[in-house]
Symmetry: C2
Subunit: 646 residues, 2 copies
């Protein structure tokens, strides 16, 4: 008998040689039907592997990342078999699971495949899958393994095997197909109900551009056809909502090769939108007692030596800026906190003046590899909606409550309803990892947890995830496509007050160390606008969107009236424009739809005679004929329903 420990801590006894799938069966038939992968003592095993010693067993289903990994890796075997059958003589190399699906790198020899070939490959793969062939692992001697692939003239697998130790080599068989493989498969091919080739791309053998170029076949597979359909729809939707595509179409931002990669240039509509976002937050912050400051985008070496950032400035960073003065060195500012500490330090402060809340839309610069840059989400220069709160330890709880309220207000006003707060605390078993007294840490952690509870946040606690300088709370937001984004961090810091020797005079007339909170509800303006674009598909909330309405004169005759209405809309602070092109109203409407303009205002004979506008909502709803005043009321009502005051 062996002892098997399950993840919930239960220990069960089984006969030696029992398989994971049998363990699942012993728990429930339902579980056994869904188990597709397993780990035993932290090593991936087959669901049909014999377990011969005591150990910890984890069973995985499709809903686990590990389960998907086994599923997709197994699917790559099926695709490989299909390719071999359709294109005899090709040479297989490696075929791992990836984040979404899998790939197989193949030397197609004289063959070449393209999109038109995908359906036939998918059809063949699905036929194989339907055969419900078991995946069976077996050990092979190095000699036999080499012989097997040498007979196939597959120099790639031969090279792989030559680098393996005899005794560690395994093959996996299913149906008529055999592959060199370390294991980690689903029980049988029949579980794969849907399989799709996504695309093909060139890939060098072993990633070395001096070696043969292979064809990388990307695929994905699912246990239900419906899931594949949904996945493809999501992909299509994500493609449509790609902020890089929308940002260009809506003329929000651009990049210039000359200015440099990862350095966005905000075009007029984007800059105005960003300013509205900033003003929205500024207004709320003003009510919440923040004070705006402005600091430079560079700082002297000494500043970063004090803050501790200088040591972390490696070869992968923007390098220091030298000056004519020897030994003088400036750095592009990678964060605003050191500058704000110096502002705190600019004159003596009394406890009566705390908390001090310094806010700045501070643009910072951090070097990213060019391959990692991505639209506005991964850039080299970005503007944080940064603020630093300096308070007494006793004020921490109230300040946390205040910042949570502000963050909830921001998320709510921008249509993010689906989020979780993640509270990161210290590992109480490793006090040496953290700066600051245990007493202060306890106070801070309690303050955060109480604040999260008082505000009824949906939150999870992660022990040991705190930074060395303090505990924190992050908002994890789900966008309209179900993807997670980290937004709105609130972070306690015991480190910088120490390093900058920040003090205030307490009621006891002694000098005390303030606590510092870093917070940024948006995170960065660039990333937040990207997220908003993808979340809304470019259909921004009415208060935020670039053009709120477009006037569409039916013919040239009505342009003058349209200009008059435009003027009157501007007096109502409605952002509008006139489409004066000599095009049909139908075409103008289609383009206004594409440009995501919320209201199309059609003006012709009747409207001009009655001094009205015919209002059509984005998406098609007809709101009838209204006076400008009525329309302005409608806009104001819609705005005030989303944009509450703080």
């Amino acid at each position: 008998m062996i002892k098997i420990t399950l993840p919930d801590g239960t220990v069960k006894e089984y006969k030696k040689g029992i398989t994971p799938i049998d363990v699942a069966k012993s728990i429930s038939e339902g579980l056994a039907r869904n188990v597709i992968s397993a780990k035993f003592n932290d090593t991936v095993v087959e669901t049909v592997s014999s377990l011969n010693e005591d150990g910890k067993l984890v069973l995985y289903t499709w809903s686990n990342t590990e389960g998907k990994k086994a599923f997709w890796h197994s699917s790559s075997h099926i695709i490989a078999q299909a390719l071999e059958e359709l294109y005899p003589g090709i040479k297989l190399t490696i075929g791992p699971a990836i984040e979404n699906g899998f790939y197989y790198d193949v030397d197609f020899g004289e063959h070449a495949i393209s999109e038109k070939d995908f359906p036939a490959i998918e059809k063949k793969a699905l036929e194989i899958a339907r055969g419900k062939h078991n995946f069976k692992m077996r050990s092979v001697s190095k000699k036999d393994a080499l012989k097997f692939y040498k007979e196939q003239h597959n120099e790639y697998k031969v090279e792989l095997i030559e680098n393996l130790d005899d005794g560690t080599i395994t093959f996996c068989d299913h149906d008529t197909f055999t592959d060199l493989c370390r294991g980690g498969h689903i029980p049988n091919t029949g579980i794969v109900k849907a399989i799709k080739i996504m695309n093909v791309a060139g890939a060098y053998w072993r990633g070395d551009e001096n070696k043969t170029q292979l064809t990388r076949v990307y695929g994905i597979s699912f246990p239900k056809q419906k899931e594949l359909t949904e996945y493809l729809e999501l992909l299509e939707e994500a493609r449509k909502r790609d902020h890089r595509k929308l940002g260009k179409e809506l003329e929000l931002f651009t990049f210039s090769q000359k200015v440099g990669q990862g350095l966005p240039l905000w075009l007029p509509k984007g800059a105005a939108l960003r300013e509205r976002l900033e003003n929205f937050l500024k207004n709320a912050q003003k009510k919440a007692g923040y004070e705006m400051v402005i600091t430079p985008h560079i700082g002297q070496k000494e500043l970063y030596v004090t803050s501790g950032h200088y040591d972390k400035y490696g070869e992968d960073s923007f390098q220091p800026i030298h000056t004519p003065k020897e030994d003088e060195e400036f750095l592009l500012k990678p964060m605003n906190c050191p500058h704000h500490c110096e502002i705190f330090n600019s004159r003596p402060l009394s406890y009566r003046e705390l908390p001090k809340r310094f806010a700045e839309f501070g643009t910072v610069y951090r070097y990213e590899q060019s391959g990692e840059l991505h639209g506005l989400t991964r850039v080299r220069g970005f503007t944080q909606d940064d603020a630093h709160i300096f308070c007494t330890p006793d004020q921490l709880h109230q300040e946390f409550i205040n910042v949570i309220d502000l963050s909830l207000y921001v998320l709510g006003s921008l249509g993010f309803e689906n989020f979780v707060a993640q509270v990161s605390l210290r590992d109480p078993e490793k006090p040496e990892k953290y700066i600051g007294s245990i007493e202060n840490w306890e106070k801070a952690e309690k303050a955060i947890l109480n604040a999260a509870e008082e505000r009824n946040l949906n939150f999870v606690v992660e022990k040991g995830e705190a930074a060395f300088y303090g505990p924190k709370l992050d908002f994890m937001v789900k966008d309209a496509l179900g993807r997670n984004w980290q937004l709105g961090t609130i972070q306690v810091d015991y480190n910088l007050p120490e390093r900058f020797d920040l003090t205030y005079k307490g009621s006891d007339n002694e000098e005390h160390r303030p606590v510092m909170i870093h917070r940024a509800p948006f995170g960065s303006m660039e990333r937040f606008v990207a997220l908003l674009l993808e979340h809304t598909g470019g259909n921004f909330p009415l208060w935020l969107t670039p053009d709120q309405a477009i006037l569409l004169p039916v013919s040239e005759k009505h342009e003058k009236y349209a200009e008059k209405v435009l003027n009157s809309l501007e007096n109502h602070e409605i952002r509008a424009l006139v489409d004066v092109r000599n095009e049909t109203v139908g075409k103008k409407i289609r383009e206004a739809e594409m440009n995501k303009i919320p209201f199309m205002l059609i003006v012709g004979e009747n409207e001009e005679a009655q001094n009205t506008i015919s209002v059509r909502k984005h998406g098609g709803e007809d709101l009838g004929t209204l006076s400008v005043k009525e329309f302005a009321n409608l806009v104001e009502k819609e705005i005030s329903s989303t944009l509450k005051s703080f």
Copy 2:
């Protein structure tokens, strides 16, 4: 007979050997009384020098810079004589005129002088002056000159003479005093009616810190006592208004040694004031058809190679920022124009879309020697209220009119009424110095001159002062102390459109080159705020000032009422605060005066009973007891009287 040509072109004949002062007499007795210095054929001469050949003669009075120079240089002789008489054995070195007054560097030996000695020196100097001693130049042989100073054991003068050629050496005598001197004196000491030692400082002989440290005696002198008094008052006023002093007292900005010299940190009150200024200009710019953009604070080398700035990046600049990628180089942005050109270039444009007016409060960085840094007026990082207008050549005239209107609006709203526009045109004799076609230059110059005339500007034309890339117009503003500041430049540019290959599609369907205008009504936010501080002495216009009113409760009892009033003021959008300190109202008033708060609102028994406030204006005027509503109306009225809408 010799021919003397005067500055107005008249040529007169005189006997050989005539002196400048006699020429003056021949013109008018009044002129002769005022002439204190002269230049003959571009060389400084004494007013009593003999003129022995044909030539150009310029006569100077106290109102000319050259006249002042002679006046102050002569005064340094008088001070030197006074010092020698009071401190026998001291060694004189050199004593030139400077921008304001003069100095004399003296080796005082065992003597030491300080402020308490100044009155005695001034008294002695004035006694000498009253003697009306003529300044008389005479040639001395090198041998005699050396002998003269060797006898005095003055190694400094000996060193100076040793470096001179025999035959070029002159001495100047007056009264009992003789000095080595190249000349350039007023006729006699009696013209100096007021003389003052300003301060003393250490100065190394020949500016070399390895040589003897001398005492530099700074002085100033005037032809009337009243002028000295006024000068000292102006100095005192300038000292009080020094923006560095006021900026600290009013908590507008600070500097940090760690962040770096010349990099201002805007404190909350300063940042808010700057934001009000920016919003003021933004609103006007919006009405004038500008669009805001946002660009990064760095740019790739390639950007500046294209713009031509890279070549000018010398050793005296911030050095390039390197990255992990070899050959990749970024520069801190020294100006915003290259970035705006890239925005213009981001998509094809038609003539129908012009003018494009891209505006940005763009922070730029330029390295200045630390010795040249001065508060907010000379910094290493500053924010330009920048905009670039891209238009067709035919639109230039209207755009210039528009920019002049905007500049006049800005100057008017901020209380600058005293200014001259300086129009800088090309040198028509040197066409090779300029880029762009002659036709375009003519068009542009005509556009500027016509615009200046149409707007009735008080302007002067400077031929040959244009930059190589285009003509310009600068506003030269006189501040409350009569000092000149250059503000609000408007500059045509034919160069960058060429270098960035900017084009638009004309009505002829061909590609055309747009003209570019650079303009910045404030210049930079830093310099403008400094100027405003010195111009207003910290008493900003009401719409701009940090705190518009302060509530002064007569005693603790009335604090609650004060808070209520504060709330109500905030609802009227009046920026106010409450002085809750346990101090007398008298002291609170004095401090509010110092803090330049325009309105002091006193609340006590009566005010609380009647729901009113007693209003005292900054400076002392009592406005009586008002309701909050009445006070709010008063504030609104004062604001709307200075801040017109554009």
